[in-house]
Amino acid sequence: MDGPHKEQPAHGPAGTGWEPTIVAFFCTWCTYTAADLAGTSRLKYPPHARVIRVMCSGRVDPQFVVEAFARGADGVLIGGCHPGDCHYQEGNYKTLRRVALLRRVLGEMGIEDGRLRLEWISASEGEKVARVITEMVETLRALGPLALPARRAAWDAEVAPGTVEAVPAAAAGGER
C-alpha cells in the first residue's frame, strides 16, 4: 500500500525489533461478543491481534487465511462458537473441516502449524479471548517472523534468473 502509513514501524517499541502480527477472524455471535466482553471486563491482553468480524466462522474462506499470511501476518486466529452452539446450526463444523484441510496446504507452503489457530470461544468467555491471544503471541514470538513476502522473494531468487518464468509455465503444462 502506498501512503503515509508506510513509514509506520512494525509492532514493538521502536528499536526493540520484531513483534508478531495476528489477523483474527471472529464470528459475530460468539467470539466477537466474547471479545466485547473482554473489553467491558477490562481484561488485558497484548495488542498484536487485528479482528475482522464475520457473521459465522464458516464464512472464513481459506483464501482469507492465505491472503493474510501473504500480506505479512505472522499468525491467523479463527474464533467461532463451540460445537453444537453455532448460531447457524453447523457453520463451525464446516470451519473445522476446512481448517484441517488448510493446515495441510499451509504445511506444504512451509507455514508452521502454530501460525493458524482455531478456537471455540463462546459469548461468555471473554477471558478465553484474552488467554488465546496472549498464548498465540508467545507461540509466534517463539516461531519468529513468517515474513512470507520476503520468503517468496528468496524462493524466487533461488530459482536462477531467466528460469523464473519458465517454471510456472512448465508446472502449468504438467498439470494439464
Binding site: M1, D2, G3, P4, H5, K6, Q8, P9, A10, H11, P13, T21, V23, T28, W29, Y32, T33, A35, D36, A38, G39, T40, R42, L43, K44, Y45, P46, P47, R50, V51, I52, R53, V54, M55, C56, G58, R59, V60, D61, F64, E67, A68, R71, G72, A73, G84, D85, H87, Y88, Q89, E90, G91, K94, R98, S122, A123, S124, E125, A130, P149
Partner: protein
C-alpha cells in the same frame, strides 16, 4: 433523492469520525493523531474527533458533514458495532445516504479497554481505521427486507414470571401459548408460605393470577408439556410442543377428585413432589389443591393398572359417566406458529448433598429452606406445623446462609434472595414455634425496598445472627447439653472465637442454580449462557430481556437469581418487548444474505448440502444454484465454499474482506 444516486459511482468521499467516549477511548488512544492519520488515507474527505459520537450532536455532525462535504461513505471509530452500529446507520440514513455505506470500527472494546500501552493502542486503532476506510469504499447500497410477523406469542415456563408475561400479553389482545412441563403452573412461588419483606401470603397473591391464566380466552395453557423443536426466525417461529399423557381427558375432568378418594391405594404412599417428599400422594393425584389447570394426573410409575393391568379401576368407576380417565392416552405433539418467544424457565435449588459436611441426607433433622417453607405452609404436609420428622417441635433452630453460593467450590455468585428468605424463615419459625433461631451468615445483603427494615424487625424479635461460615454440622456431642442435638461448628468472626451451637433443626439456605437442562434448552432456542449457565441477555444494562437471537426474550430467574418483584418486573419488560415486536406487524431483516451471480455459477452443487436452512436449490433448467432470500440467514458458509466464487454475501463480499485484510496489514507490507 438519495445521495448515492448522485455520488455512488463517483470518487469515494469518506467521512471518518473518531469518538473519545469521554476518556474511555481518549485516555488510551491518541485520538488526535488517529484523526490526523485518517485524514491522510486515500478517499477520506473529512476526519473529525468528538467527545461522544453517539450523542445527538455527534450524530448531527455526521449528518451535516454528509450534506456539506458531499460525503458518500462514513466510518465511525468508537465502541462495538454490536452496541451502536444501528445508531450510526440511522444517522447516515437520516442524512439521505444509504445506511450500508457505513462501517464501524471498535477501538474501545477491542482496543482502548484491553491494552495498556498508548502507542501500541494508537497504532492498532490506525490499522483498524485504515481497514475500515479501504473496505467502505467497496460498500454497496443495500435494501433491508421486511417480513410479516405472526402476532401469537409463546411463553415457556409457568412460574410467576411466565404467568405475568402471559397475562400481560393476553390482556393486550395477543394470543399466548403458555407451555409448562409440570402438571400445574405456579412454579416455586406456589410452594412458598409468605413472601418477604411484606409477609404477603404467597398463595393469596399467586392463585388469582393462576386462575386468570387458566380462564383467559387469549391463553392456550399446556401443562405437562415441553417444547421439542424450534424452527424459523424472528416473527415466524414454528414450534413443536410435546404433550405428555396425563391419562385424563382434560376437557372431561372437572377436578372433583372423587377418583383420588376412590383409588385402590387407601393410603397415600408415594412421596409427593410438590411437598418435596415430605408428604405422600396416591398414583392418581392433584399436585396441590389450587393447581391450575385443576386436573388430576396419573403417575404410570406407581399406578397398579399400568404396572400389572389388573387393577379394579375404582377411579374409573368413581369418575362414572364423565369418563375422564383414559389409560390408553399417548404422548402427542402440537405445532404452533408464533412471532416471539419468552423464556421463563426459572431455576433449580442447590442440591445440599453436594456439601457433605452440612449433613443433608445424613441427619434427618437437616432440612433445605424450601422444605421448611412447605412445613410452615398451612397447605403443606404438616398443616403448617413446624415439627421435626419425629413430631417434636424444635426448640433451637440454626439457619445456614450461602449454602452453595459465594463459594468457589460450588457457585461463586451471590444467590441474591437467600439472605432475605433466611430472615423470613427465621421470623416464621420463631412465630410458629417460639424457638431460639440462629442465622449463620457471611454478609447480610438486604438491598431491596423494605428489606433492611425487615431485617431490623427480625433482629428486634430476638433472632440471633452470627457472622461466620459454618464449618460443619454433626451429631458428635462433647458435653451433656449437646447430647441428641445437631452441633453447628462455626467461627464467630465478630466475637473472634470458634463456637459450637447445639440445635434441633438445621435449615440450609441453598443457592439458586440454572435448571439442570438449561444447556439443552439454550441449544433448542439458540441462545447463549453466562459462565454459570444462566441465559445470557443481549446487553447487561441496555437490553436485559433480549437475547442474541431476535424475537426470543428472557423473563425471571432463568436469566439469574431474582426475587418475586424482580421476576415480575422483568416479565413485564419481556412482554412489552415481545408486544412491540409482534404489534409492529412487519420486521426488517438484515440484508447480509448470500446471492448467486448466475453467470459465474458452474452448477457444481457444492453449496446445496452446506446450507443449514435449505435456502439453496438447484435449478434444473438453468443448471445453476438459486438462493431463496427469505430463507437465507446470512451465515456465508456457502460463500466461502463456492469453488467458482459465484456466491457472494452482501456486507461480507470477498473484496470487502480482502480490503480489510490488506488494511490491517498495510503496516507490515
Amino acid at each position: 433523492m438519495r445521495l448515492e444516486t448522485q455520488t455512488g459511482n463517483g470518487a469515494p468521499r469518506i467521512g471518518v469520525y473518531v469518538c473519545h467516549c469521554g476518556t474511555n477511548i481518549a485516555g488510551m488512544v491518541d485520538v488526535k493523531a488517529l484523526t490526523a492519520y485518517a485524514a491522510t488515507l486515500p478517499g477520506v474527505a473529512v476526519a473529525r474527533e468528538y467527545k461522544y459520537m453517539c450523542s445527538d450532536p455527534g450524530q448531527a455532525l455526521i449528518r451535516s458533514d454528509i450534506a456539506e462535504h458531499r460525503l458518500n461513505r462514513v466510518v465511525v471509530a468508537a465502541c462495538s458495532p454490536l452496541l451502536h452500529e444501528h445508531t450510526f446507520r440511522g444517522a447516515v440514513e437520516a442524512a439521505g445516504l444509504n445506511p450500508y455505506y457505513f462501517q464501524m470500527v471498535s477501538i474501545r472494546e477491542l482496543d482502548s479497554w484491553v491494552h495498556t500501552d498508548p502507542a501500541e493502542a494508537t497504532r492498532k486503532a490506525k490499522d483498524l481505521v485504515r481497514a475500515a476506510v479501504q473496505r467502505v469504499i467497496l460498500h454497496k447500497p443495500l435494501e433491508t427486507r421486511s417480513v410479516p410477523v405472526n402476532p401469537n406469542v409463546l411463553v415457556v415456563g409457568g412460574g410467576i414470571a411466565g404467568i405475568h408475561a402471559a397475562l400481560t400479553m393476553a390482556n393486550a389482545g395477543k394470543h399466548v401459548y403458555l407451555v409448562e412441563r409440570e402438571p400445574t403452573i405456579g412454579g416455586h412461588m406456589a410452594k412458598f408460605d409468605k413472601t418477604f419483606p411484606t409477609l404477603d401470603c404467597a398463595a393469596c397473591i399467586l392463585t388469582p393470577k393462576m386462575t386468570a391464566v387458566g380462564t383467559h380466552p387469549n391463553i392456550t395453557l399446556w401443562t405437562y408439556s415441553e417444547v421439542e423443536k424450534v424452527e424459523g426466525y424472528v416473527g415466524n417461529y414454528r414450534v413443536t410442543v410435546k404433550r405428555h399423557p396425563r391419562y385424563i381427558i382434560e376437557d372431561l375432568c372437572v377436578g372433583c377428585q372423587e377418583c383420588i378418594e376412590a383409588c385402590v391405594y387407601k393410603e397415600a404412599r408415594v412421596p409427593d413432589e410438590f411437598n418435596l417428599g415430605l408428604g405422600k400422594r396416591k398414583p392418581i393425584y392433584l399436585p396441590f389443591p389450587q393447581a391450575v389447570p385443576l386436573l388430576v394426573v396419573i403417575d404410570p410409575e406407581t399406578c397398579i393398572e399400568f404396572k400389572s393391568g389388573k387393577c379394579k379401576k375404582t377411579c374409573v368407576e368413581a369418575c362414572g359417566e364423565r369418563g375422564a380417565i383414559d389409560f390408553t392416552q399417548r404422548e402427542r405433539t402440537e405445532e404452533i406458529e408464533v412471532g416471539a418467544i419468552i423464556l421463563a424457565t426459572g431455576f433449580k435449588t442447590f442440591d445440599a448433598r453436594r456439601i457433605p459436611y452440612y449433613g443433608y441426607g445424613v441427619y434427618k433433622n437437616v432440612y433445605t429452606a424450601l422444605e421448611v417453607e412447605r412445613l410452615i405452609n398451612a397447605a403443606g404436609p404438616t398443616g403448617g406445623e413446624v415439627v421435626l420428622r419425629d413430631g417434636r417441635k424444635p426448640e433451637r433452630v440454626g439457619i445456614i446462609h450461602c449454602v452453595g453460593s459465594r463459594d468457589e467450590h460450588y457457585n461463586i455468585y451471590c444467590s441474591r434472595v437467600c439472605c432475605m428468605f433466611s430472615i423470613k424463615l427465621a421470623h416464621l419459625i420463631r412465630e410458629r414455634t417460639g424457638a431460639e433461631v440462629y442465622n449463620f451468615y457471611i454478609d447480610i445483603r438486604t438491598p431491596g425496598k423494605g428489606f433492611e427494615e425487615f431485617y431490623r424487625r427480625v433482629l428486634e424479635e430476638g433472632v440471633h445472627f452470627i457472622r461466620g461460615k459454618v464449618a460443619q454440622v454433626s451429631d458428635w456431642a462433647t458435653s451433656p447439653e449437646e447430647e441428641g442435638k445437631l452441633i453447628i461448628q462455626v467461627e464467630d468472626t465478630l466475637a473472634g472465637m470458634i463456637r459450637r451451637i447445639p440445635v434441633d433443626m438445621v435449615v440450609l439456605s441453598g443457592a439458586l442454580e440454572p435448571q439442570a437442562d438449561a444447556e439443552a434448552v439454550r441449544r433448542l432456542f439458540n441462545i447463549s449462557c453466562s459462565t454459570e449457565g444462566w441465559f445470557l441477555e443481549r446487553h447487561p444494562k441496555l437490553a436485559p430481556v433480549s437475547t442474541f437471537t431476535d424475537g426470543i426474550f428472557l423473563a425471571g430467574a432463568c436469566q439469574g437469581p431474582k426475587d418475586i418483584p424482580d421476576s415480575v418486573a422483568q416479565a413485564g419488560a419481556a412482554a412489552a418487548e415481545a408486544l412491540a415486536l409482534v404489534d409492529a406487524g412487519r420486521i426488517a431483516l438484515e440484508p447480509n444474505t448470500a446471492y448467486v451471480v448466475a453467470d459465474d455459477c458452474s452448477g457444481c452443487k457444492t453449496c446445496i448440502p452446506l446450507c443449514p436452512y435449505r435456502a439453496i436449490a438447484f435449478n434444473g433448467q438453468t443448471a445453476k444454484a438459486e438462493i431463496t432470500e427469505a430463507l437465507c440467514k446470512g451465515c456465508g458458509v456457502c460463500v466461502a465454499a463456492c469453488p467458482s466464487g459465484a456466491i457472494r454475501q452482501h456486507l461480507f463480499e470477498d473484496a470487502e474482506i480482502f480490503a480489510e485484510i490488506a488494511g490491517v496489514l498495510a503496516a507490515q507490507a
